[in-house]
């Protein structure tokens, strides 16, 4: 349980980090008890494995030229699975682009994600995930949307929190600043989650900011904040649950720095060996979030590692099936270029579409 007293103990300005498990999955926090049932914890572990398996498969689809890019989540899964457990139907999820497990929990279908990275906007509609926004490419710009949504939720007296994600690099953008400031001044219930994975593409954190950590930035806005071990599922779950609760109860924002490490490449076009050392990677591998929760489960006798291969084989099948759905998605039609720009297609766009269609009619053979 993370409560107000815990928050006071983990002052960002003292650079304290909230952590429950050590690298081996031993609970190091005195008097700590999970607020999830064993079954839920086991499920969380499976979810971690699933996210990791999706990543693996996705990267290989991309290598086969079947998707044009993909941003791996490797190493950051505990944040996503914990968030997925905490964020409710009635809450809003405002992603950056590296929170796969949370999206899936919100109702996003895997085939949609694959479709998106094959290059079709239909893949960012997220049809079964209401209150979930599409991927935000312009870094940090989405946090303002989160703040605006939160204002609307409060205005409409909905009991709903907004979760806005951003990376460590994203904290440098002006929009990060404005979003936190507006949320604070407006008392808007946004939980801002910084996934500090130590890099913005090739740029290491120390070239991004000199602040002692990222959670401390909350002080600039009087937004309560805490630094959490982002590779620790329990720590993330505790803090996210608390943040949600206080957002709803006091109707105010909260800032979480989830300290983690991007174990993979930035995207499939990136080669991290250009800008970071093997030693650093190995050091962080010891803190791997999946291994840590596994350590906990095994220690508690809740998990038999022997099950794992079969489980993953099943995952792979399911993932392949989703990928197939994406591959068999209907052809991209010309209509899709025009018809969603406005609620009613303006004459000017009708004209442009018609002209193009006429061209196509003349140029038999169609578009190449």
């Amino acid at each position: 349980m993370f409560d107000h007293k815990t928050l006071n103990k983990y002052k960002a300005i003292e650079n304290k980090m909230y952590q429950v498990l050590d690298n081996e999955g031993k609970v190091i926090l005195k008097d700590w008890k999970p607020d999830l049932s064993n079954a839920e914890i086991v499920q969380a572990y499976k979810d971690l494995l699933f996210e990791r398996t999706v990543d693996l498969m996705a990267v290989s689809y991309q290598r086969q030229g079947r998707m044009f890019t993909y941003p791996p989540n490797l190493g950051q899964e505990a944040i996503h699975i914990a968030a997925g457990k905490v964020i409710r139907m009635e809450d809003w999820l405002v992603p950056a682009f590296r929170e796969l497990g949370a999206w899936l929990a919100k109702g996003v279908s895997l085939w949609e994600i694959f479709l998106y990275f094959k290059g079709n906007e239909e893949g960012s509609k997220f049809i079964n995930a209401p209150r979930m926004l599409p991927i935000a490419v312009p870094i940090a710009s989405q946090l303002l949307h989160a703040t605006g949504i939160a204002y609307a939720m409060k205005y409409n007296k909905e009991n709903s929190a907004v979760f806005g994600f951003v990376g460590d690099g994203g904290t440098s953008e002006g929009d990060f600043h404005e979003a936190l400031n507006f949320a604070a001044v407006w008392n808007a219930p946004v939980v801002f989650v910084i996934q500090n994975n130590q890099f913005a593409i090739s740029v290491p954190l120390k070239m991004q900011t000199k602040s002692i950590n990222l959670a401390v930035k909350g002080l600039a806005y009087d937004v309560p904040s805490v630094l959490v071990d982002g590779n620790d599922f329990f720590a993330m779950h505790d803090v996210l649950s608390y943040a949600r609760k206080q957002a709803l109860e006091s109707g105010t924002p909260f800032l979480i720095e989830a300290r983690t490490y991007r174990q993979g490449a930035h995207t499939t076009s990136d080669d991290p060996t250009r800008y970071r050392s093997k030693e650093e990677e190995e050091e962080w591998a010891l803190k791997d979030p999946v291994q840590r929760l596994k350590g906990y489960l095994v220690r508690q006798g809740l998990w038999n590692p022997g099950q794992e291969d079969e489980l993953i084989a099943g995952f792979k099948k399911a993932i392949d099936a989703e990928f197939e759905k994406a591959e068999n998605f209907r052809e991209y039609e010309l209509d899709s270029v025009f018809d969603y720009m406005y609620h009613d297609l303006p004459d000017e766009l009708k004209k442009q579409k018609n002209e193009y269609q006429n061209y196509l009619k003349l140029a038999k053979g169609g578009v190449k």
Binding site: K125, S141, L144, S336, D347, E348, L349
Partner: protein, 325 residues
């Protein structure tokens, strides 16, 4: 009917929509207690409460970005940029999101918001207070862009903008905020977005303008009429989408066209209108469609502004040149 100036007509439209639709919110810098630096939102906070009409922190990207967030939940934020020159910090939100969220999400979310921007020169102001940024927005997919030139249109277009399911940039010609008075119905009415208006029919030449330039053209027309020149004046009213039909019919009739805009010349709004005329009425042209625009310079501070602003005399000179071409 009540006689209103533009400021009053805009205030009236906001008041009406605030009354009618709980989803409408009005915010921006100084719009609350102060009622806006131009007093456009005067009295609205008292009438509708500080939860619906309020001051924001001083950050334009923040204002627009949060409004987008509200809009996709179904609210209808109407936000104010204090002056034309201060919309630029919000360009990323406008260009990257406001005009695109609907397309990106295949219509799952739409963005029914309005960005109000007092714009244009001729008011003796500091730098950054006299900009004409309409071409930036006209060139940006996903937006609609409107500019009224009369109190009547101001009210009707603003109500239409607020009710539009898509985002609308609503530019207010601040130079004539209080200069033009007109009877405006107190009840609700709308002016369709995308429809230009022929303010006066004429045979010899088409002049296309909008916003504060309408008044200058009208002054030039008085002089032109004395010289026997009948000008057909089109108030464009909507910058995007352009009402090509009205333009085509007019230029096919007159064979001559002059575009008058305050914005800088190159890559400016007049260039688009000239291209439309080429596309719609090339064979009718008896003279090159011509533009009278701002220079490709910063608009000068007040003492130099006389060189930059477009006067009736200059408009008349162009009209004569074209008619005698």
């Amino acid at each position: 009917m009540k006689v209103m100036n533009l400021v009053q007509a805009i205030n009236d439209a906001l008041d009406l929509k605030l009354r009618e639709d709980r989803g409408v919110l009005v915010y921006g810098e100084d719009v609350g207690v102060e009622g806006g630096v131009f007093r456009v939102t005067e009295g609205l906070q008292v009438k509708h409460g500080a939860e619906r009409v309020f001051d924001s922190p001083l950050a334009e990207s923040g204002i627009v970005g949060t409004a987008l967030g509200m809009a996709i939940t179904g609210m209808k934020p109407v936000v104010e940029m204090q002056f034309d020159g201060f919309v630029y910090p919000a360009m990323n939100q406008i260009l990257s999101h406001v005009g695109r969220f609907r397309n990106r999400t295949r219509g799952k979310y739409s963005v029914p918001m309005v960005i109000r921007i007092p714009y244009g020169g001729g008011i003796n102001a500091l730098e950054h207070h006299s900009e004409s940024p309409e071409a930036y927005f006209g060139h940006t997919p996903g937006l609609k862009v409107v500019i009224p030139s009369t109190p009547y249109d101001a009210k009707g277009l603003l109500i239409a903008a607020i009710e539009d399911p898509d985002p609308v940039i609503y530019l207010e010609p601040k130079r004539i905020y209080r200069a033009i008075k007109q009877e405006v119905p107190e009840e609700k009415f709308t002016i369709p977005i995308g429809k230009a208006k022929i303010l006066s029919p004429g045979e010899h030449i088409t002049v296309i303008a909008y916003g504060a330039m309408i008044r200058e053209v009208q002054r030039a027309m008085v002089m032109a009429r004395e010289k026997g020149i009948q000008v057909e004046l089109i108030d464009l009213r909507t910058i995007w989408p352009i009402d090509r039909d009205t333009i085509r019919q007019s230029v096919q009739k007159t064979g001559r066209a002059l575009i008058v805009t305050e914005a800088p010349k190159s890559y400016g709004p007049a260039a688009e209108l000239i291209s439309c005329i080429n596309e719609e009425a090339f064979l009718s042209l008896e003279a090159p469609p011509t533009r009278l625009t701002g220079f490709d310079t910063v608009i000068p501070l007040p003492l130099g502004e006389k060189y930059y602003v477009i006067t009736p005399d200059r408009i008349l000179a162009e009209i004569e040149k074209l008619v005698n071409y």
